[in-house]
Symmetry: C2
Subunit: 135 residues, 2 copies
DNA sequence: CAGCATCCCTGGCGATACTG
DNA sequence: CAGTATCGCCAGGGATGCTG
């Protein structure tokens, strides 16, 4: 019995709704999209970086100075990934000394409520180590 | 100038709301909770597994048969992590052959809307490789 | 059926030093 | 100021075989 047949027999045993819906849920919710979201924000420092840019702390040096434990190399790569995923844009000013700012795109702004949900759920369901001041 | 002082000066330059709010956002949203959520669902197969259990496909062998590419070892560990994080419970039936079922906890159910949001955002913002049938 | 034991390998991350 | 360039670690995951 192949996978599809097995899924069908399962769905009947489980008496779920329509098989198409069942299959769609198994594939879509399970497989691709959540993993995309996870990848987009899943870097170790990406939530911090993203959130700083949301609050207009949007220059390389600013972020680097504030987030301790974050190396320049990692900051570079995570910024590049956020840019590649279309959440932020890199604005280069042609002045000396060099000046670069990062800004949210439309897609980036659309992600704010999602990250807020993720944040709220964790706060409500786990004991967060309250660090009233950054160490 | 230390981090706090630097943050304060930044917040003034940025003319954000109150400093406490600013700091809280930087720490909370940025740091802990989102990373917790990411860790909870961040395993390579966790979304699939979680979603299957949501749809009452809740036995080790069922999940193993449906999700191709998933090894028993990995399935074991990810189930254990989901259990350790309190999203699912392991119900052992004392019969032969052995029978084990996994079920959502209250916390697990509370996570469903969050994962749905993550899913929807990805669908709306990325081209998902539509796989109408599982390969 | 529902796992555990073992070995291996890659990618994300960290530390440090250098540059246009 | 805003990055590159190297080197190196190690946890998450894959492959395969064994067990109560």
């Amino acid at each position: 019995m192949d996978r599809i047949a097995y899924l069908k027999s399962l769905q009947q045993r489980k008496q779920s709704a329509s098989f198409d819906h069942f299959l769609s849920m198994v594939n879509k919710v399970g497989n691709c999209p959540v993993r995309i979201t996870n990848h987009v924000i899943g870097g170790k420092w990406k939530p911090v970086i993203f959130n700083l840019i949301v609050h207009d702390v949007n220059r390389f040096g600013e972020i680097f100075r504030i987030v301790e434990g974050l190396s320049k190399k990692v900051l570079t790569t995570q910024l590049k990934e956020l840019e590649a995923d279309g959440l932020i844009v890199r604005k280069v000013y042609d002045v000396l000394p060099q000046k670069v700012e990062y800004e949210l795109t439309e897609k980036g702004r659309s992600f704010i409520p999602v990250i807020q949900e993720m944040c709220n759920w964790a706060i409500q369901n786990f004991q967060i180590a309250e660090q009233s001041s950054p160490k």
